[in-house]
Each structure stands twice: as C-alpha cells, then as structure tokens.
C-alpha cells in the first residue's frame, strides 16, 4: 500500500533537516502505529506525504500502490486515496462544514471519473455517519471547525475520513484532546473502516488509543528516523519505560 524509502526532508526556508532517511512499508489492510518523542518528525512525515508546502525532499521516495506520491498535487494524493487526519485541524470561517464535505467528496469522485453523489444520498450518508460519531446536525451547519472544541475537531476529522473512504489513512495524534468516550467513538469509527483495501498509520503518544485500535506493527521514530520496529508489545514498553531505553539501545 504505502512504501517509503530513505526519505530525507529539510525545511524549504532554512537549512534544517527534519527527516533523515525514513524507511517504512505499510501493507494492505494493516494498521501501523508510530510513536516517538516530541519533535522527532512524525507530523512532518505526515505533511510531506500529503503534500504540504514548505518542505523539500532531498532524497528518497514515497509511493502509494506504486504511484509516486511526491510528484502529485495535494488534491491528487487525496483522490489517489491518501487521507491525513490533522494533529491541528484548521478552522475555515465562512465555509460551511456540509458544503466543504460535499465539495470534497464530489471533487474526489470527479477526479476518479466516478459520478457525483446526489444531494439526497450525500445528506443521508453524512447524517448516518455523523450520528455514529455523535456529531450533531448543528455542528454540520457551522463553518468548518470554527468554534469546535478540541475533541469535536478530531471527531470531525474522522467524519471526513468516513465520508471520503480513503485507502491510506494517516491519523496524527487524533487521540489527543479526546475524552475517554470520544476516544472509543473514534476507535470504533476507525475499526469499522478496517479491512482489505484500507491501511492505517496511527501517530500517537499513548498506549490508550492502541488498546482500542490494535496495531499490527509499531514503529518508534526518533530524530527523523524509524529507529525500532516491533509488535504491539513495543507500545507497552514505551508506556511503562518511556523512550530512554529504546533510544539508548539504538543509538
């Protein structure tokens, strides 16, 4: 599904290298987790994969099902099936959440040569999915993320993911800011989408989310590299001992 090889990334504006050779392969239907200290480059990796400005790839490749992600515009990556749930979802005053969702769904369908979803079908689907995430209709009418609480913003990200049905979902700290019940809702949302044809890369600091979303593989990222890869037990080790031990043994 997702194949990243030797990815090196620096900031465009300054000589700061952030990713120093990331290698990562996520197979179809798998859930991978990435943990790692603050500032190790986890969000940067997710931004570079989704095509945000401001970064320069100096070496390496990233492919989604064999297609060169790095050569595509952000909207092309989305249409190809990539989705990023932002660590900090953006507020867009003046653009209604519904309008936004519908524009996005139909733009992707159009890019893939599929027919647009009718207004009625769209509404039905959005209502059902919002309900399962306990997002009330009032929130859907408001401008995108404006005045949403931290947890509401995160749930809104998962709603977008559920509507867009991407192949490769990157969740950047979707659990931060969520209360215990909301975390369960989000995990249920993710688990409902799990299966063949869809993979996940879940960035998190806490084992708690991984109790609900069982990962197949766990990676530890430090200083711009994946320094250790293992099974779910690796997350438990981080939870009890922190990163110190792991970083020492890999240094």
């Amino acid at each position: 599904m997702l194949t990243i090889k030797n990815l090196h990334v620096k900031l465009e504006e300054e000589d700061k290298v952030i990713l120093k050779g990331v290698d990562l392969t996520v197979d179809d239907g798998k859930v991978h987790a990435i943990m790692g200290p603050n500032g190790s480059g986890k969000s940067t990796l997710s931004y570079v994969l989704s095509g945000r400005d401001g970064y320069e790839v100096t070496d390496g490749t990233a492919e989604l099902d064999g297609a060169d992600l790095l050569a595509m515009e952000p909207e092309e990556r989305a249409a190809a099936g990539l989705f990023l749930a932002f660590q900090y979802p953006v507020e867009i005053p003046g653009v209604g959440n519904m309008t936004f969702l519908r524009t996005a769904v139909n733009a992707q369908r159009k890019a893939r040569g599929e027919p647009e979803l009718s207004a009625a079908d769209f509404l039905k689907e959005v209502r059902a999915k919002a309900k399962s995430l306990k997002i009330d209709a009032e929130m859907l009418k408001r401008p995108v993320n404006v005045g949403f609480s931290g947890g509401e913003k995160k749930r809104n990200e998962i709603l977008q993911m559920a509507m867009l049905e991407p192949k490769m979902c990157i969740l950047d700290e979707t659990d931060s800011g969520l209360d215990v019940d909301a975390m369960k809702l989000v995990a249920e949302g993710v688990n409902a989408l799990r299966g063949k044809g869809r993979s996940f890369l879940v960035i998190t600091h806490y084992q708690r989310l991984l109790d609900h979303i069982q990962p197949d593989v766990v990676h530890i990222m430090a200083d711009g590299r994946i320094v250790k890869t293992g099974g779910p037990e690796l997350a438990l080790e981080v939870e009890t001992n922190g990163y110190a031990g792991i970083l020492e043994e890999t240094a």
Partner: protein, 428 residues
C-alpha cells in the same frame, strides 16, 4: 475660500461641454442652484483630501474616455426575478425595451416628465438631499449631476411594492457619457426593492436620492457592469425617518474606475441603515467605496460592510465615516472594510473614521488586508478539492459577510452566480 485657478479651469472646461436641460420653473431653479454649487466648489482635483486615493481626472475631463463594449454571453442578471424592468441604453430611457410603467401600481415617471410638470412631489427632493450631502464634505460630481441630468426615474411608493423595480443599464456606444438621476420617496410604512445592473455607459455619473419616511423600508441591490474599461461615479443620498430601514448592497466586477459614494442621514429614532459592497478586480481595476453615515437621532443602527478581492495590479479604496451627533444617544455603529489580496501587486487603501459627540454609543470599526490563508487552502486541497476550487471557496467565504447583507435569497443567489462567473473566468 477661493477655488484654485487650475480647478476653476478644469471645472469651466467640463461645464462648457454641457447645457442645462429645459423644464418647469422649480426644476430650472433646482438645476441652477446645483450649477452654482458646482461653481462654488469646483470639480474634484487630485489635490483634494477626499480624492487622495482615487484620481478624479477621467471623471472630470470634458469628454468620456472611450471604453470598449464587452461582448458577453453571460445571461442577464435578475432575469428570473419577477420585476418591473426599466431599461436605459447608453444612459437614455428605452421605452420599447422597458415594461409598462403605468402597470406597476407604483407612481413611476421619467425624470424628464416629472421635471416638466409645474407641481410635482419630486420638487421637495430633487437636488435637495444631494445639497444636504454637500456638508461637511463636498461632492461636486453629484451637484454636477443634479444640474445637468435629464434622464432617470422618480418613484413614489405608498404601500408594499408588488415586485422590485429593476433598472437595467445597457451600453452600445464606446463613447457614451451618461448622467442619470433618480428620486425615490418611500412613504410611511411603504416598502420598495430597487435592483440595478449593467455597465450604463463608457462614463457614468449617477445620483440616487432616497427619502424613506417613518416605518418605510428600502432595499437596494446593484450589480455594476463588468465592462473592463467603463468608469463610474455614483452617489446615493439617503434620509431615513423613524423606525425606517435602508439596505444597500453593491457587487462590482471589474471596471477601470468606480467610485461609489453613499451618504446616509439617520434623522428619525430607531432607524436602521446597512451599506455593503463586494468588489472583485483583476488588473486595471480601481474601486473606491466612500461612505458617510450621520447619526442624528436616538437608538439608530448603522452597518458598513465592504470586502474587496484584488489581484494583478487592482486597487481597492475604502473611505468610511460614522458621524454621531451629540443628540444621537444609543447609537449602534459598525464598520468593517477588508481586502483579500490574491498577489503582491494588488493594493488596498483604507481610511476608516469615527467622529462621536454623544457619550452613550457603541461604535466599532476595523480594516484589514490579507492574503489567502495557506493553511486553509492546504486543508481543503488535502481533502481533494482542486486548488482553484479551494481558492474560490475561500474567496466566497471572505465575501460572505457582505453578501449576507442581501435579504432576499433569490437575489443573493443571482449575485453569487455573478461572482462564480468572475471566479471561473479569472483562474490563473
């Protein structure tokens, strides 16, 4: 207070090209008075403080600079709205293209007819509101209009008008130099919606005088023609009675030069006045909104909401003032002017002013100038919305506060589709 020689010369040169229309005695007096005002003030010049950001030269020079007539297949705006259509071609009333004025149920007459009648209600307003609006700031182009206009309509509404009156300004000539003057009286408790659209002429000088009596309401929505080379100086002078409502919205799409002035006097308690504008310009576009709202009664509300989207050398200007007189307690005044600069060549010049002599008032104003929010743009694109479409969404979001001032949803939808057309034509 002497008028500088250069200004006198420019004024004389312009006046030499014009002659006062014939009419009834009262009209002749009103026009002569207006002419005297012009001569006393002189026409606007580059040195005038009120024209600091907009060069009036082409509005003042004797002949209109020629403007190519735009060929467009865009369907006419407001076409689906049930309306009484009054058509002017190059500034001249076209009876054949217009609806039957007698059928309207309103009192509508042509200005030529009204000003030829010895006794007419319009005599209390023609040039009168314009003259009131000459203080504290001079507006000589409006006085010039009152002196020489011979085209326009006078409308008196006594109940709720059955449908909007729609003034359509077509243009066929590259050199037309139209002067149009409308007078509108909304009687107590009456209600009128006025629509305007079209480029009018190569150069357009327009005055609308609106007198809204107690409890009356007046809604105005204007889509200024998108001909690239046209020039326009428009003035709306409004006087509002007790508990009356005045709402005016203007969409300006291109045009080499536009100066829209609104001069609004709240003279009765609890009156409400909203003036709003959305202007979008690409390239050779200079757009100036100049607004002066005077609160002269208790507990009135005024809002000024102006938004401009500019790119590729376009210039936006906003001069907005709220004057609150000493007796105008409990005034609620709001003013916002914002520009969205789509590139580094565009510029926005704003002069927001508050002048307050009452002590129990709530007035706020703000002016900003900014670029597209890159984070929002990326967020939209990351969801699959193509760049151009994402930018359009953000532009429309930026303009929303101004467009929200249009109360009628079908009229707002027409304005939005005009904007959509502009956005699609201007994807770079």
């Amino acid at each position: 207070m002497g008028v500088p020689q250069a200004k006198l010369d420019a004024t004389q040169a312009r006046l030499a090209a014009l002659s006062l229309p014939k009419g009834a005695n009262w009209a002749a007096v009103a026009r002569q008075d207006a002419l005297s005002r012009v001569q006393a003030m002189g026409l606007p010049g580059r040195r005038d403080e009120y024209w600091k950001y907009t060069n009036p030269a082409t509005l003042v020079q004797p002949d209109a600079p020629p403007a190519a007539v735009l060929e467009t297949r865009e369907p006419p705006i407001f076409a689906e709205i049930d309306r009484l259509k009054i058509v002017f071609v190059d500034g001249v009333f076209d009876a054949a293209a217009s609806d039957d004025l007698d059928r309207s149920g309103l009192e509508i007459e042509l200005l030529t007819d009204a000003t030829s009648t010895d006794i007419h209600w319009a005599r209390d307003l023609y040039g009168v509101l314009e003259a009131r609006g000459q203080s504290p700031v001079h507006r000589p182009l409006a006085a010039l209009n009152s002196a020489f206009a011979n085209q326009g309509v006078v409308i008196r509404v006594t109940g709720a008008a059955a449908c909007p009156v729609s003034l359509v300004y077509l243009r066929r000539s590259e050199n037309s130099d139209a002067v149009i003057h409308h007078v509108i009286r909304v009687e107590e408790g009456a209600d009128l919606t006025l629509l305007e659209d079209g480029p009018a002429s190569a150069r357009f000088n327009q005055v609308i005088e609106v007198d809204v009596a107690d409890g009356g309401s007046f809604h105005h929505v204007r889509a200024q023609g998108r001909d690239h080379e046209r020039r326009a100086a428009t003035h709306i002078f409004a006087r509002l009675g007790r508990e009356s409502t005045f709402k005016s919205f203007t969409l300006s799409v291109n045009g080499a030069l536009t100066r829209n002035e609104a001069v609004i006097e709240l003279t009765g308690d609890n009156a409400v006045a909203h003036v709003a504008g959305a202007a979008v310009g690409d390239g050779d576009f200079h757009h100036d909104d100049t607004v002066f709202v005077t609160h002269d009664a208790v507990a009135c509300e005024s809002r000024q909401v102006f938004k401009k989207v500019l790119r590729n050398g376009a210039t936006g200007v906003f001069q907005g003032k709220i004057l609150v007189k000493a007796d105008a307690q409990k005034t609620d005044g709001y003013q916002i002017s914002q520009s969205l600069l789509l590139d580094e060549d565009a510029q926005f010049l704003a002069k927001p002013e508050l002048e307050i002599y009452a002590d129990d008032v709530a007035c706020s104003h703000g002016s900003t100038s900014g670029a597209i929010d890159e984070d929002a743009l990326f967020y939209l694109r990351s969801r699959g919305v193509p760049q151009a479409q994402a930018q359009d969404l953000l532009v429309l979001a930026f303009l929303a506060e101004a467009i929200d001032e249009i109360e009628d949803p079908s009229i707002a939808a027409d304005i939005l589709s005009r904007l959509d057309g502009w956005l699609k034509r201007h994807h770079h």
